[in-house]
Each structure stands twice: as C-alpha cells, then as structure tokens.
C-alpha cells in the first residue's frame, strides 16, 4: 500500500521578490529582475506504508523543501503530491508554543495544532509527561524553561500523536545523549508498529540506524534512490 506518492514534482522559488513599492510603479521600474530558483526538479518518489526512508544531500539540495511540500506547508509549482493517512511532522519543534502558557497548556495547544482532540491528549498526557521528564515544572510557564526542557516537551507531544506518516527534519539534536537515545528508541518503536517514516538528516549514523532506504538529492535533483548501504556508500565516496 502506498503512503506517499510524489509525481514529477518541481518547486520554484522567486528570489529577490521584494514587494513592488509605489516608486517602482511610478518609475515603471521593472529592472529588479526576478531571479528564479528551482529548489526541486522533477522528483518522483513512491513510498510504501511502513517504509522508513531517509533523504540525504548537501545543504541546499532541496531536502527540507521536499519535506515541507509533503507536509503541505508549501505547494508544488509543478507536479503533484499525495499522502495517504495521518501526517505528523517534526519539522520545527515548539513552533506553536506560547511563552505565557504553562507546560501543561502548551501540551494541549501543541497537540491541537497537530489535530488531536482533548480526549486524546487527556489519555496520553501522563505518557507525554513521563517521556519529557519535565516533572513538576509542567505547571510553570514555558518561558521559564531551559531550551533543553522546551525541546523535550515539544518532542514528546509530537511523537505522541501516533501518526501513520512521520516526517522528521534534523531535530534529533535534542537534549543530552540519554534523551537522544530515548528519541531514537521511540522512532524505532513507531517504525516497528508500521509507521511510515521520512527523515532528513546530516547525521549518517542516525540515518543508517533508522532508514532502510535512502534518497539522495543534489541541487534539487534526485541522484540515487535505493537500499541504505548502497546509497550511503556512493554518497560517502562522492563527499570525500
């Protein structure tokens, strides 16, 4: 069964799109040339349910753009993208946190942004709290949290939504190594229950541990798509 289908996907960004100001209209100033930049060019990917796929490539290769398009934050310029099932994305942790809300309120708020309802969160609250290790600080406003606590709480909410498809973008630089291990364990657990995982990372070890399949992007084009070991071998060869 398919989970994600990407067909002939291209994404164009218009650079230097400074809004036209009145003086440009009056002077008919069209000189500010619009530079186009194709972040993704003709990408075709089929991901099946339960697969865990990593996207690798250098900075600016379009990895994050691809993930943003799959999570419907950005829209493709050409081509199409379809996802089947609940998508939860760990693109930016704690993006929805309100500084003046307590940790508890932020759990509910952030879960609501992920589309969970109150009863669901009620049920999961205890496990979220345990996972985050926030303990008694849960009823303090999050502006008093350290950045580690902040991230741990955000991460705990995000993985609690039990999605069909989980999108992860470079976020596992969270917390200390103990918490990092817990995060990877959680991802492995989700993987074992059949969650489709799409992961963007620079960390080779992380990608190799979690992903069975890798997609290598370079300058918006797909270079290679295959089993982790093969792609990683070619990729490391090229990088040296």
């Amino acid at each position: 069964m398919e989970a994600i289908r990407v067909e002939a996907l291209s994404k164009k960004f218009v650079l230097n799109n400074r809004p036209k100001m009145l003086k440009d209209w009056i002077l008919m100033n069209d000189r500010q040339k619009k530079k186009e930049f194709w972040a993704l060019k003709n990408i075709n990917i089929n991901i099946h349910k339960g697969e865990s796929v990593g996207i690798i490539g250098r900075n600016g290769s379009g990895k994050s753009t691809l993930l943003k398009i799959i999570s419907k934050i950005l829209y493709p310029t050409l081509g199409s993208i379809e996802t089947f099932g609940n998508v939860s994305s760990l693109l930016e942790l704690g993006a929805g946190f309100k500084q003046d809300f307590t940790g508890r309120e932020n759990v509910y708020l952030n879960a609501s942004i992920l589309g969970m309802n109150k009863q669901e969160v009620d049920k999961k609250f205890q496990s979220i709290l345990e996972f985050s290790e926030i303990e008694e600080f849960i009823d303090q406003p999050v502006r008093t949290y350290s950045s580690g606590m902040y991230m741990r709480l955000a991460y705990s909410v995000a993985v609690s939504s039990n999605p069909d498809i989980l999108l992860i973008d470079e976020i596992l630089s969270v917390g200390d190594s103990k918490f990092k291990k817990k995060c990877i364990d959680k991802i492995m657990e989700l993987k074992s229950i059949g969650t489709t995982i799409l992961l963007v990372s620079h960390s080779d070890s992380m990608v190799q541990r979690v992903c069975d399949r890798l997609i290598w992007l370079d300058k918006g084009e797909m270079v290679m798509d295959g089993i982790s070991e093969d792609v990683m071998a070619k990729y490391s060869e090229k990088m040296i």
């Binding site: 934050i73 929805g96 003046d100 609501s112 109150k118």
Partner: protein, 260 residues
C-alpha cells in the same frame, strides 16, 4: 479544497480554535491589573466620550442618547476590531505558518471569535443602562441571536479576504484603518438614519453593517420589531460571500508560507 472538506478539517482542529481564541483573549490583557474588565471599560469609556461630544456639546436631539449609542457602538467595535486584528493575523502568525501545517482558516476564525467574545462581555453593560433609563426588556431580544449569527458570517467572510490579501499587499492594514474610520462616520451609529438627507439615504441603506446595527438599535433602543426581511436578504448575501471568500482564501493560502 471544497467547503465541506474544509469544514470537516476545521472540526478536526476544533481544539486549536479553542486554544487560539483563548490565547488571543489572554494576550490582549496580559499583565494588566484589570484584565478582562477592559472589555467593559473600553467601550464604556468610548460611550461616555461620544455622548459627551455629541449629546452634551453638539446637542444632538436623541433622547436616552447613551442607550442609543450603546446599541450601535458595541456591535461596531466588534466588527471593526475583527477586521483590523484579522488583517494582520496571518502575517502575525507567520512563524507558525512557515513551520507547521494546519488549516489556515483557523487563525482568522479564532481572531474573529475572540472579538465576538469581547462583544458578549461588553453587552453586559446593557443591564445598568436599561436600569438607569428605566427601559424594560422586550420580546424582540429573542431575535438578537439571529443578527449575531449574520454579523458573524459577514465579519468572518470579510476577515478571510483581508487577512489573505494583507499577506501580499501589506499596505492593506493601513488602508483599512482609514476605511474603518470612514465607515464609522457613514454608518448611523452616533446619529440616526432619519437625520441623513433623503437624497442620499439610499446610499446608506446598502451598507451591510448599517443593516446589522439598525437591527440592534431597533431591539435595544426603539423597542420595535426589527426588519427581518432585510436581515434575511443580507444573510443570503453573507452566505454567498462566505463561500466566495473561502474560495479565495484557500487559493491564496497555498502561498502564505512563502510570503509571510
């Protein structure tokens, strides 16, 4: 996305509407000593100020002027602040829009809802006013929910348009400030409809917000049967408007993340 799908999605995210509305209400009075009482004090102060200017200084001949002003000014403030706050709402939540997917309508919806809750709080002022002027409550009050629903749909559809357009034309926020000031004085709020010269009265009658405000004035001030017919016509227009503005909004929302 069709409107049915969109409604389903908003229903799924209903908790988010709830939390966003609350946080908007809370942020408005954050750290203030009087907190939510400002929702009453602010319109009260305006009422006293306008009645001083128009009734005491300019001697406008409307009896029980404070009550008259109240019935028009409270729904007006709700309308005006809904439009102005939602105009900047998408841009203001840019950080979230760039990073997380959720139905973008929710931001506008919560910002309009928080303003309506403010209006409900301000409506409490009616109790002392009726008491002071010894005006009894009448059966037409039962019709007020109708006008509130129409007002909500009207406000929401306009808010969706302005919030989406503001992303691409930031000047709109400033333009709306001026438009709202103009609309305030061309809507019978501080004066009565029959004071307008007859020649230009038709021009005033097509103003949708004036129809809504007239309804409030009929019920609260005039103690008379409001014009149900014009409200019915307006509600049909508003539903059509909501449909169209939702279409425009969901089309434009695809580019929000790139432009905020």
């Amino acid at each position: 996305m069709s409107i049915i799908n969109s409604l389903k999605e908003i229903y799924k995210y209903r908790n988010m509407v709830n939390y966003f509305t609350r946080s908007e209400l809370r942020n408005r009075y954050k750290g203030s000593v009087l907190g939510v009482f400002w929702s009453i004090l602010n319109p009260l102060f305006l009422l006293l100020l306008y009645s001083f200017v128009f009734s005491f200084v300019m001697k406008i001949s409307i009896p029980n002027y404070l009550l008259f002003l109240f019935s028009g000014l409270v729904p007006w403030i709700c309308f005006k602040s809904s439009i102005l706050t939602s105009s900047g709402s998408i841009v203001g939540n840019g950080g979230l829009i760039k990073k997380v997917y959720f139905p973008r309508e929710i931001i506008v919806l919560s910002s309009v809802m928080s303003n309506f809750i403010n209006m409900f709080i301000a409506l409490i002022l009616i109790v002392p006013l009726l008491f002071v002027y010894q005006v009894p409550i009448n059966k037409y009050y039962l019709l007020l929910p109708l006008v509130i629903i129409v007002q909500f749909i009207f406000t929401l559809s306009l808010s969706m348009i302005v919030s989406a357009f503001t992303v691409f034309v930031r000047d709109l926020r400033q333009i709306l400030d001026i438009v709202m000031m103009g609309l305030f004085y061309t809507t019978p709020i501080v004066y009565k409809t029959d004071m307008i010269p007859e020649k230009i009265q038709d021009f005033f009658n097509i103003n949708p917000i004036a129809i809504i405000i007239k309804f409030y004035q009929d019920v609260i001030y005039h103690n008379q049967m409001p014009n149900i017919m014009s409200l019915a016509v307006l509600s049909v227009c508003c539903i059509a408007m909501l449909y169209i503005s939702h279409k425009i909004f969901s089309h434009l929302s695809k580019w929000f993340a790139e432009h905020v």
